[in-house]
Symmetry: C2
Subunit: 111 residues, 2 copies
């Protein structure tokens, strides 16, 4: 039985994509695979969420894209983090930490 998957909260995907790309450029399909693999399948990335997210992030200038040959030799659209993207990643990372801290404070009540 594979580990249960839960819906990923709105907005979280963007942060994960930015983080993956902070390790180096990658194309969409690979980004999804990496997120799933690294999280040991805890997080699943639907293509119907991924591609809109990539377009969204590129429009906000947090990513830059370029068509190049993938590892398999086929054409693929590689995304890279911009400076603004790095800053945004830092902001979202921080927000996540503070949200998690707040949630744990609330869970710690009554113990």
């Amino acid at each position: 039985m594979p580990p249960e998957r839960f819906p990923i909260p709105q907005g979280t995907l963007d942060m994960l994509v930015l983080q993956i790309l902070s390790l180096g450029p990658a194309h969409g399909y690979a980004i999804a695979q990496r997120i799933e693999q690294i999280s040991r399948n805890a997080v699943q990335v639907n293509q119907g969420s991924l591609y809109p997210a990539l377009h969204r992030l590129e429009q906000k200038k947090w990513l830059r894209s370029e068509w190049r040959a993938s590892e398999t030799g086929r054409e693929a659209k590689f995304y890279a983090l911009t400076r603004a993207g790095e800053k945004q990643l830092a902001i979202e990372k921080d927000s996540w930490d503070r949200l998690d801290a707040a949630v744990r404070l609330i869970f710690a009540q009554g113990e």
Copy 2:
């Protein structure tokens, strides 16, 4: 300067409401206050999000409501966790832990 607030991800509010109510019944207004106070204002609860959430949770039978006098002597709708609500809270708590673990795994990449 008050600490910056971030939008709370979709679905998170329900979990926090359930958790607050696991400490005992409370009315809507008090639930919001407690979440804000305990989180040291990191999480803000808009009334436009709160009341729909309460109705939603009650419809799913995770909460039960009852009109009673509040601490101030005025009538207020008190919500209490049901058995099903307790189970749901456990599920959501677990999902949160696993999501946080996954996010941290991804962030740990490249270190």
